[in-house]
Amino acid sequence: MMATANSIPDVTPSSAPAAVELLVMVASMPPNQLETLLSRLSETFATDRMLIAVPDAPADTHPTLRIIATPATKASWTLTAADFANSAELARKNDARAILMLGPEAASLTSTSLHDLANAILSSNTDLAIPLYQLPPYAGLVNSAILYPLTRALFAQSVRFPLAIDLGLSVRMAERLAAAANRFVALHQGDAIIWPVDEASTAGYSIHEVEVGPRTLPHPVEFDLNAILALVAGSLFADIDIKAAFWQRARPLTSARTPIPQPPMTEAAADIAPMLDSFRLAYTNLREIWSLVLPPNSLLGLKRLSSTDAAAFRMPDNLWARIVFDFLLAYRLRTINRGHLLGALTPLYLAWVASHINITASGTNSEHHIEAVAAAFEADKPYLVSRWRWPDRFNP
C-alpha cells in the first residue's frame, strides 16, 4: 500500500528546509483523490513544517508542499506492518514530531478531521490518536461484532474502531508499532495486520479518540468474506494470545463511551434471508465441529436459533459473547485446526449480523445495540480468564 521497509529514498530538499513537525504517510489512491487530499493538507497545516510521503508522487501541482515518493507495495484496504515500519523509519530520518497515517479513500476526510487527528498528537501528550468514524448503520459489521467488543473487554479501551485506517502517532508510538511490525516484515509478511490499540494499551501509552465524521471506507482486496474474516479475527486472536499476561489482570474501563449519534433509519432493512440460510445450513452440517468448541448451553442456544423464524430471529448478546470467547479459547488451545476454526466462525457471525439487522429494524439504535454487545463481552470476561488459565476444568 505505501512502501517497503528498506526502499525509502533519502530526502534531499533543494533549499534548507524547516524541521519536519508532521510526517503525513498517504496510502496509494487514484490521482484525483490524491489531488483533493493534498489540497486539504495544504489548507490545514503549515506546509513548510510538513512532509508528505506518497507512493506515487504527483506532478508538481503543489510546489509549496514537500512531497517525497515512496514505492508502492501490495495494495491493502487497511494499514499493514510494512506501513508502520516505513512510517517509523521516515519519522526517524526526518526527525518528525508526529505522524499522520492516512489510508485509502482518505480524501473523504474533512480538513477539520485531518487537523484534529494531527493536533491530538502535536498539542497534547497523546500517543495514539484514533478516529471515530460516522458510518452507515450496516457498515463495519465485523468491527462492531468482534473487534470492538473484544478490544473493549480485554484491553479496557473503548475505542470504537480498533482497526482504523487513519491514525495519528507520536514518535514513540510509531517506534513501538514499528518494532511489532518489523517482526512480520523480516519474515516477508509485510501485509500482516498490526493492532495499534492493543500495543498502546500494553505499553501504557495514552490514546485519544477523535470524531472525524463520515468517511468512505475502502473495499477489501479479497472478495471472499470467509478469507477476510479468518485473516482479521485470526490476527486479533493471535495478538490477544501474545498479550495474555496483560489483559488477564482485571482493569476497569478507562472511560464510559456514549454511543455515536446516528440518524434515524430511513431506508428498508437489509435482506437477512441469505445469512439465515447460511446459518441454518451450517447448523445442519457443522454441528459436530461446533460441539468441539462450544459448551452445551451455547449449542442449545444455536439449536433454538436455527428453528426461529426470520422475523423473530434474535441472537442473545451473552450467547454471542460466549461464542466468540469459546472460539478464542479454541484458537489458543488449538482444539481443532485454526483454519477450520475460523472458517466455522463465519456462519455464526452471519447469524449475529442477521440478528443485529432485525434488532435495528425493530427501532433499536444500532449503536445502542453494539454497546449492549460490548457490555455483554465485559460481563463475561471472568469466564474467558478462568478458562484461559485452567482450560481442563471448564471443558465443554
Binding site: W77, L135, P136, Y138, A139, G140, L141, V142, N143, R183, L187, Q189, L217, H219, P220, V221, E222, F223, L225, N226, I228, L229, V232, G234, A238, D241, I242, E267, A270, D271, I272, P274, M275, D277, S278, L281, A282, T284, N285, L286, I289, R334, T335, I336, N337, R338, G339, H340, G343, A344, T346, P347, L350, V353, I357
Partner: protein, 270 residues
C-alpha cells in the same frame, strides 16, 4: 495231559506274545524318535528365533524409554525457554496451524521417532538373528518389516482424510452448497481408498487385482461425485454464474469486493 495242554497254551501264549512285545516297543520307539526330532526342530527354531524376538522387544522397550525421557526433557526445556511464544511471535507461516502447540508437537515427534527407531533396530536385530539361525523359511519376516510402513501409511491416510473432509465441509458450507456433507464424505472416502490401495500395494497383497480394483473404485467415486454435483445442482450453478455475470456487467470488468455473501449491498462487513 493237563501238563501237555498247559504247555501248549503256554507255548502258544509265549509264541504269540513274543512278536507283539517286539512290535509295540518298535512303534513306540519310532514314534518317540519322531516326536523327539519334531520337538528338537521346534525347540531349535524357537531357540534360533528367541534371541531375535528378545532383541526386538529389548530394542523397542529401550528406545521407548529413551523416547519418553527425551520427550519429557524437550517438553520441559521448550516450556522453560517459552518456545511456543517465540514461535508465535516469529511465526514463519500462518497457513500451517497444527492442532497441538509446537512444544507438544516437538515432544511427541521425538517420542514417536524413538519408538520408530526402536522398531527398525528391533526388526534388523530379528532379521540378523534369523539369517544366522535356522535354515527354515520364515515368510512372515518381510510382512513384519512392511507392516510398520503400512501402519504409518494407515495413520497418515486417516489423518489426511479427516483433515481434507473437514476442510471441504467448512468450505462448502460457507459457499452455501447444500451437498456439503456429501462432498466431504466423498473426499474422505477417496483418500481412504487411495490409502487402502497404497497399503495393500506396500504389503504386496493382491498384485494387479488391487490396482485394477482401485482404478475402478476411484474412478467410480469421482464419476459419482461429478454426476451428483453436475446433475443435482445444475440450476444452482447456472444461477450462480448468471448472477456473477450480471454483477460484472453492471459494475465493470471485475466485480468490486463488497465483502458480502449473497446479502444485500447495504451490508458492509469491513
Amino acid at each position: 495231559m493237563r501238563y501237555i495242554f498247559a504247555s501248549i497254551i503256554q507255548t502258544d501264549t509265549s509264541q504269540s506274545a513274543q512278536p507283539v512285545t517286539i512290535d509295540s516297543s518298535s512303534i513306540w520307539h519310532h514314534m518317540s524318535d519322531a516326536l523327539y526330532q519334531s520337538l528338537y526342530r521346534v525347540l531349535s527354531l524357537l531357540i534360533a528365533i528367541l534371541p531375535g524376538i528378545l532383541a526386538f522387544f529389548v530394542a523397542l522397550v529401550v528406545f521407548t524409554v529413551v523416547g519418553m525421557i527425551i520427550s519429557a526433557l524437550l517438553r520441559r526445556g521448550l516450556t522453560w525457554v517459552k518456545f511456543d511464544n517465540r514461535l508465535t511471535r516469529y511465526q514463519v507461516s500462518t497457513e500451517w496451524t497444527p492442532t497441538h502447540s509446537p512444544t507438544e508437537l516437538v515432544a511427541r515427534a521425538s517420542f514417536w521417532g524413538c519408538v520408530l527407531l526402536g522398531l527398525v533396530i528391533g526388526v534388523s536385530a530379528f532379521d540378523a538373528s534369523y539369517a544366522t539361525g535356522t535354515t527354515l523359511p520364515l515368510t512372515l519376516l518381510p510382512y513384519l518389516t512392511h507392516a510398520v510402513g503400512a501402519i504409518l501409511l494407515l495413520v497418515a491416510g486417516n489423518l489426511i482424510a479427516r483433515f481434507l473432509a473437514r476442510t471441504v465441509l467448512i468450505g462448502a458450507v460457507n459457499a452455501q452448497l447444500h451437498y456439503a456433507r456429501f462432498l466431504a464424505l466423498g473426499v474422505k472416502w477417496l483418500v481412504l481408498v487411495v490409502t487402502a490401495a497404497m497399503i495393500l500395494d506396500h504389503l504386496q497383497i493382491g498384485g494387479h487385482v488391487v490396482e485394477l480394483a482401485f482404478g475402478i473404485l476411484f474412478g467410480g467415486i469421482v464419476l459419482t461425485l461429478a454426476l451428483a454435483v453436475g446433475l443435482g445442482s445444475r440450476d444452482l450453478v447456472s444461477r450462480s454464474l448468471e448472477s456473477r455475470a450480471e454483477r460484472t456487467s453492471e459494475r465493470g470488468v471485475t466485480p468490486p469486493p463488497t465483502g458480502t455473501t449473497g446479502a444485500s449491498d447495504k451490508i458492509r462487513h469491513f
